[in-house]
């Protein structure tokens, strides 16, 4: 574990008796439990409620080298009114972009309640000097980002330099000011659930508001078992300290069916208190249209072609 002096003084999670045990994770049983929850059969009204919530929890994302103001503007329009033909469809939680496009998103979303999330800290690799990472964060916040999605230094974590990891997150958190901090663990590079659990605890100890699975640039990205593993950490932290940490699976969630499986895992692991966009987000780009399609199917009884939903 980290050296105590590297922890901020006002840390809500002291590194003494109240820290949940790091413990370990049994991969076989974890995957079995996730598989069990994935088989829940969600129908009718409960399906519609889940799909509505899934939209409200969505961080609609575009993180491409080819992103332009035009592309981001289109995405913002979609974020505010996912289905222009249907005013009952809520807006998504946030639009997630690179720092350069924060200003565009901010102005497009003004007054809508949809937040702007920006990736930062040398996303997606995190392989830059700390000062560059901090400057990255400060810029994004100055441009108007409400939420910062940072990546951890996987190199430091995998070589056992946990203190460096914690120190970096603490300093990024400071640089965030009032912006919300989501810490991306990039679970696809961590190798084991034990590592995911450990990295989750470190990120939370260092001040993360949310822990997030992936950048979307590495395979595998979010999976159901890895999400369950992280939710169990969040549950332990809540038991131990009362702190409520958010969770964001990102990458690879493309269908409404998958989204409902994640919500089942959330509902049966952390319960009703976490069934809110304040504490759970989906990082996704293509998920929204499938959810819209399923909502219309549920309401009208028949599927409609993809051409009835805008591609943005």
């Amino acid at each position: 574990m980290a050296q105590a002096q590297l922890l901020p003084r006002d840390l809500e999670l002291p590194l003494d008796l109240r820290l949940p045990r790091v413990g370990s994770v049994d991969a076989v049983a974890l995957e079995a439990r996730a598989g069990e929850l994935a088989k829940r059969s969600i129908k009718k009204g409960s399906k519609l409620a889940a799909l509505d919530l899934a939209i409200r929890m969505m961080d609609l994302t575009t993180l491409e080298g080819a992103d332009t103001p035009g592309k981001v503007s289109a995405l913002c329009a979609k974020a505010m009114h996912p289905d222009p033909a249907d005013p009952t469809i809520p807006s998504v939680a946030a639009v997630c972009v690179y720092p350069n496009l924060v200003a565009v998103a901010k102005s497009r979303l003004a007054g809508s309640g949809v937040r702007v999330a920006s990736v930062a800290t040398a996303f997606p690799s995190g392989q830059s000097p700390i000062d560059v990472k901090l400057a990255d964060v400060r810029e994004a916040v100055a441009l108007g980002a409400d939420e910062i999605d940072m990546v951890i230094d996987r190199g430091a974590f995998l070589s056992g330099r946990y203190a460096k990891l914690i120190d970096e997150i603490v300093r990024v958190k400071e640089a965030c000011g009032s912006a919300h901090l989501k810490v991306i663990l990039e679970t696809g590079e961590l190798g084991t659930y034990d590592n995911v659990r450990r990295a989750s605890l470190l990120a939370i100890a260092a001040g993360a508001n949310f822990i997030k699975t992936s950048t979307g640039k590495v395979t595998p990205a979010a999976t159901l078992p890895v999400t369950l593993c992280m939710l169990e950490v969040i549950r332990d932290v809540h038991d131990e300290t009362g702190r409520m940490i958010g969770m964001k699976p990102a990458g690879g969630i493309r269908t409404a069916k998958q989204a409902i499986q994640y919500l089942c895992v959330l509902n049966e692991t952390l319960g009703t208190a976490w069934m809110t966009p304040e504490l759970f987000r989906f990082g996704a780009s293509s998920l929204l249209n499938d959810v819209l399609m399923q909502i219309r199917k549920q309401r009208t009884g028949s599927y409609q072609s993809g051409d009835y939903f805008t591609i943005d």
Partner: protein
């Protein structure tokens, strides 16, 4: 974050998410009004002229009338089995025998939905369990033993294995079709013929199985199914023309059968009562151990011969474990067995429910602390909420006697030696579970636990390749795996 979002934005409160009912369709199952006995390849009316109703324990709904076999019926069934053994079946090339078993296995798969619905309807178990566990495993047993049928010489080299003859088999109500397959598949693979009596409360899947035998073209008399109650079973084990008796059920009945058969030369295997210990060390993967505990005792309403009904927890981890366990209990969905989201179904019978209630009352009387999560139980039918007892003394009845229901007793220990001592301190010894991340401790424990199966970091997992059976009052003989062939063979060397 809140400061930055517009003040006008109404934040909806968290979603209280209820799952809508998701019932499995029943129409795939076409039940007859009345089921006769399956003797000599035909459905026949019982000579006893007696019938009894079979119901759904979840609703007490009447499902069908079933024949109650009397002594004359038992005799006819054994004669039919003897005739088939001495006729076509024992002369058949082993590879041909295997073909029938493969055919039965495939038919079970093809009719799996129908069988799953029947199993849940008649037995009260959640459809997700009959669909994902009972029926696939039943098919797997037939596939597995089909493979052995023409390889017995390799299974027992230089011992000249030969079939015994006619086997009388009596199975319990907790896994009706799966127990049927555990009994019939190895018996047939080894070249025997059988007379099988399903449990009184759960005859339906065995009766559907008779139709599968017909579809598979199995020669008449190789499989005979006689429904009935305890008296039918008693007549069967007393029949003088049996070569083998296999029984799964209570220790009391098992002892009576053994007395009955003593000195007759009839081969016997018994799979009886149990009070399995599930042992949790403080270095386990905690959340997964909690899942394992839940699966160990609430799987199939605790109607599991090897259920982990005694939880032994290392004292240093007792509080967080019990807290997690109680919270997990609150997410268990109790209700309609045919609902795909049901985790805990109905208790199998009024009799079993009364027994559970009596033992739970004795636990409360002994001063143990009872916890049941808030849950609405249906008004009709036989129901019992998932229950945990803490502060249980080793001497308490709920720590010693088999409850066979969704009731867990939690005890503590301090050292590995104490865990072994407490786990072994029971007249039974069918199974045990060990939860620790330390490999050497798993091996150390497995060496010392007197139980037929020791699971490490898992519980209640079954596979046809793995032998299963008990120590002490949990019975003798093994079912499953290579070992499961031996009770159905005799050896010239």
């Amino acid at each position: 974050m809140a400061a930055k979002s517009p003040a006008t934005r109404a934040v909806p409160s968290p979603l209280e998410w209820e799952y809508a009912p998701a019932p499995e369709a029943r129409d795939i199952l076409a039940l007859e009004d009345r089921y006769g006995l399956y003797i000599g390849g035909e459905q026949v009316a019982p000579r006893s002229r007696k019938w009894f109703p079979t119901i759904s324990p979840a609703t007490e709904e009447h499902l069908a009338e079933v024949a109650l076999a009397g002594p004359r019926d038992v005799d006819l069934a054994v004669q039919a089995a003897r005739g088939a053994f001495e006729g076509e079946w024992s002369a058949l090339r082993p590879a041909e025998r295997a073909k029938y078993l493969f055919r039965i296995a495939r038919l079970i798969q093809e009719r799996s939905r129908e069988l799953a619905v029947a199993e849940s309807l008649n037995g009260g178990k959640p459809i997700k369990e009959s669909r994902d566990v009972d029926i696939p495993l039943a098919a797997a047993h037939f596939f597995y033993y089909a493979g052995w049928a023409d390889k017995l010489e390799y299974a027992f080299p230089n011992r000249k294995p030969r079939p015994l003859g006619v086997a009388g088999q009596i199975i319990p109500w907790n896994f009706p079709l799966l127990m049927l397959s555990w009994k019939i598949a190895p018996a047939l693979a080894c070249g025997n013929t059988v007379v099988l009596k399903p449990a009184e409360t759960t005859p339906l899947t065995a009766l559907i199985f008779t139709d599968i035998c017909r579809q598979a073209g199995l020669p008449a008399g190789v499989v005979n199914i006689i429904t009935g109650d305890g008296s039918t079973g008693a007549h069967l084990v007393k029949h003088p023309d049996l070569d083998k008796v296999a029984f799964t059920g209570s220790t009391g009945v098992g002892k009576a059968i053994r007395r009955e058969l003593a000195g007759t030369g009839v081969k016997l295997t018994l799979e009886l009562g149990r009070k399995a210990a599930n042992i949790i060390f403080d270095d386990c993967a905690l959340d997964q151990a909690v899942e394992g505990v839940v699966h160990g005792i609430y799987f199939n309403q605790g109607h599991v011969c090897c259920a982990g009904s005694r939880l032994l927890v290392q004292e240093s981890i007792y509080e967080p474990l019990v807290a997690k366990l109680k919270r997990r209990l609150r997410t268990i969905r109790v209700g309609d067995p045919l609902d795909k989201n049901t985790d805990l179904g109905a208790i199998n019978s009024r009799m079993q429910l009364d027994r559970i209630r009596e033992l739970v009352a004795s636990g409360e009387g002994d001063g143990a602390e009872m916890y049941q999560p808030p849950c609405r139980l249906p008004e009709r039918g036989y129901w019992f909420a998932p229950t945990v007892f803490t502060n249980v003394a080793q001497s308490s009845r709920i720590a010693q006697e088999e409850i066979f229901g969704p009731v867990l007793s939690v005890l503590t220990f301090r050292t590995p030696e104490e865990a072994v001592e407490k786990a072994n301190n029971t007249p039974y010894g069918l199974s045990a579970g060990v939860w620790t991340e330390k490999g050497s401790r798993i091996l150390w424990m497995a060496e010392r636990l007197r139980a037929g199966v020791v699971w490490a970091n898992t519980f209640n997992r079954f596979d046809p390749t793995s032998p299963f059976g008990g120590y002490k009052e949990s019975g003798f003989g093994r079912e499953g795996g290579l070992h499961g062939l031996e009770p159905y063979l005799r050896f010239d060397r």
